[in-house]
Amino acid sequence: MKMPLSRRAFLETSLFAGASTLMASRLAFANAPTEARFVFVLLRGALDGLSAVPPVGDPDYAGLRGQIALAKAGEGAALPLEGPFALHPALEFLHRSYAAKELTVLHAVASPYRERSHFDAQNVLESGDLRPHGSTSGWMNRALMAMPAGKSREAGVALGANVPLAMRGPAEVASWSPTKIAALDDATLARIADLYARDPLLSQRLADALESDAIASEAQAAAAVEAEGETPMMSNVVEQDAKEKRGYNARYVETARAAAGFLKRDDGPRVAMFDTTGWDTHANEGGAQGQLALRLRGLDAALGALKESLGPVWRSTVVLVATEFGRTAAINGTRGTDHGTGAAAFLLGGAVAGGRVLADWPGLARANLLDSRDLKPTRDLRTIMKGVLRDHLDVPTGALAPPPDRWTA
């Protein structure tokens, strides 16, 4: 059920105050704690938040961005949000979600990490730790352990052949990606399972894989019926490489649909994660069209497909879309942007009381930039994660902290 008031209360709280009113929303969700679904979408490579959510009304924006600045009006104009903010024109579904109050746009956010290595930054974002390589488990996995469903098998699912760090840890997490196992006969599988009896890792993995595969094939069969005759959001085939574009869109749309297939089930996992790559736009990033636009369109289509495939379950779903850090405020010498700090993120879903931009906007004037180059972060991304855990999944926020001082509640 949608709880607009308590949702709004939570979001305002996490923006402006401490944790005091979070209790109200926890109560609001206590009615049906197991209904809540959560999807984490990690954009690896550092999404340019100043292009995805361009502050077109900031007086310094156009000057810093030069050739890749998005326009306020006219052809290829950014889609307006509140205040100085807008969305990249490729993010049509997100813009509709904003209008439908199912999207909260976050800006000038960052993890605690302040260097500029992708790999360490992703490590911090996924582990929930304060420094890179401090923990071998991920915050989502620790959260699963604290959920009632986490005690059972496969409370979470990673869409991909392997499990990313955010989902690694003591809780059992399935991974799934399409595999053609039709030819593999049950007798051979049974013998392999026997052979793995004394190998705890492999026997666990095999059992999980077979269970996930059964779930996914059911979901796929259902989706095939639903999607018959439909062409997923690919009408504007101009510019860029048509084939490549189809590739990006189709892959992420398929992943999103598969995630929905798992989450929709009454007895299925409640938490899912998938990641996307290709956001490291150092050169020829493009504006309303171009490299970044292509990828944003793919992401937008995937999120749209997730909503569509989840059907009524969307109402109890929260999706967090985040990246390891932002990019430089100014364009570089090759019409792209280099590694930065403050980033944009999205909180999307039927359980989000959205329709707003949450940003304590530092401004883009040179004096306000971090190290005279990056958007200054004014909010810790972990406050958003904690909010989702506590208010949506009913998990103690200590779960975000890394071991050894991890949650004990």
């Binding site: 071998t136 990606s177 051979t188 013998r191 392999i192 026997d194 050169a283 570089n332 010498g333 280099d338």
Partner: protein, 474 residues
């Protein structure tokens, strides 16, 4: 032969090699470390294969094509635009397939598998990923041209060859990185109609973070910026946007070859990591690289990666320590470092400590079963199916190298499914019961031997061999 010796042979072929071929364990014999080190002697083999050509030739062709692509992109007609977009992949893809096929064939047949594994380690250390179309036709050539010949030389020579290779320059956006006080910047400032040029710090950052010092190597953002200025002008010949440079009478070099564009270079002395480097053109960046190669942080960073790659996800500290010393004492003479690795007793303990990557799994399967390579286009399929596309790690960090990165449940199921398809195809043409001890030596368990012996068909026995816990690991 004592049991220890047979374990050592299994470790040598599987952990340090690309998986045993039938008959290989007896060749290794009692002196397993000696077998590995002998592979490092003599010039590394030159990769042979139909269609392999110098990267400069491929790139020169592409530079020509780009002009046409640009013209088509400006056309009104959508079809023209699509045709333009497909032009580069159309040239690059067959080159990529030729490269992968040659590399695959060599990996499956080589009698110096340790050398090949080292080669591929370095290729992954200096990763360029072919999801960036600009390097699709160049990544394989970079391995052949810059890496292969230098795997048994000094690290600084390897480092310089890689950082100057067009594939690396393009992958990390250096060719058009222009110093703010360079001649080109002054020219554009005067006549560029508001066009902006400047530094791109991508290559400089990744050299420090990934290729040399490592992320905790003690450098700062200011070192990254300074280094980026020092290597501004490291570019590629023949690329001349709209003929602007030609109009200035600037040397445009040989198409597709490394070119130091003096007019792009940020002039002046630079200070990096506390040391000053004079205004010395291309030698400024070269000297910095040579110094980076010999720093303790670099020695430790790469020794750790090598030890992790070969021995265990969490490599023994003593081994890393010995390798780091070997690196510094020998001035980065790589065979001395490899020797420190192979001569470490810890390297021969705990067999099967590493979970194979998909590539390891594919190469070892092909070697184990003598599977014939299929036609070129299909050579890519197993890597795609198992989730490790050739030369496509997706980021400059390269493929990850621990069990948790590869042992997902879906990944395991894909492996088993693929093994079964291969086994069905081979059917009774291979005898798994005879092969198992020849491939796994002392690491073959009774459970696996029994399961294979009791299989209901030759094909099923092969599936069980390839799916066995000891074949999944190395």
């Amino acid at each position: 032969m004592t049991p220890t010796q047979t374990t050592a042979a299994a470790i040598a072929t599987n952990r340090f090699g690309l998986g045993a071929r039938p008959g290989e364990l007896p060749v290794v014999g009692a002196d397993a470390a000696g077998w590995l080190l002998r592979q490092l002697r003599g010039a590394p083999p030159v990769l042979k294969g139909e269609g392999l050509k110098p990267s400069a030739e491929t790139l020169a062709k592409v530079i020509e094509l780009r002009k046409d692509v640009k013209a088509r992109r400006q056309a009104k007609d959508d079809q023209e635009k699509v045709a333009a977009a497909l032009k580069l992949p159309a040239v690059y893809r067959p080159v990529y397939i030729d490269e992968i096929h040659a590399r695959f064939a060599h990996s499956v047949t080589t009698e110096r598998p340790f050398l090949e594994r080292l080669t591929q380690f370095w290729t992954n250390h200096f990763a360029v990923s072919v999801d960036k179309v600009a390097v699709l036709g160049l990544a394989g050539a970079m391995e052949r041209e810059a890496i292969r010949p230098r795997v048994t030389g000094h690290f600084q020579d390897l480092l310089l060859a890689v950082e100057k290779h067009p594939a690396m320059l393009l992958y990390l956006d250096n060719p058009a990185s222009i110093g703010p006080n360079s001649k080109a910047a002054h020219f554009v400032g005067k006549r560029g109609n508001g066009r902006k040029v400047g530094i791109n710090e991508n290559l400089a950052r990744e050299i420090l973070e990934l290729h040399t010092l490592g992320v905790d190597g003690g450098y700062s953002q200011s070192d990254v910026s300074t280094f980026a200025q020092a290597i501004s002008g490291w570019s590629i010949g023949g690329q001349d946007n709209g003929g602007r440079l030609a109009k200035l009478g600037v040397d445009n070099g040989t198409p597709g070859e490394f070119l130091f564009r003096e007019v792009f270079h940020e002039p002046g002395a630079k200070k990096l990591l506390g040391k000053s480097y004079g205004d010395d053109g291309v030698r400024q960046g070269e000297t910095i690289l040579r110094d980076l190669a010999l720093r303790r942080e670099t020695a430790r960073h790469i020794s750790t990666k090598l030890a992790r790659h070969f021995i265990a996800d969490d490599p023994p500290k003593a081994v890393v320590e010995r390798m780091t010393h070997a690196w510094l004492d020998s001035k980065a003479h790589l065979p001395t470092v490899y020797e420190a690795l192979v001569e470490s007793p810890e390297a021969w303990e705990q067999p099967l400590a590493k979970f194979k990557t998909p590539s390891d799994y594919i190469y070892s399967s092909y070697r184990a079963l003598g599977i014939p390579l299929r036609e070129k286009r299909r050579a890519l399929q197993p890597f795609e199916a198992l989730g490790q596309r050739n030369l496509m790690p997706g980021s400059p960090a390269g493929w990850p190298d621990t069990s948790a990165d590869w042992d997902g449940s879906s990944a395991l199921l894909k492996r088993i499914a693929w093994a079964d398809v291969v086994a069905q195809r081979l059917g009774d043409t291979r005898n798994a019961r005879d092969l198992a001890p020849q491939l796994l030596g002392a690491t073959l368990t009774d459970d696996t031997a029994k399961a294979i012996a009791r299989a209901e068909s030759g094909a099923q026995a092969l599936t069980l061999l390839m799916a066995s816990p000891e074949f999944m690991r190395r």
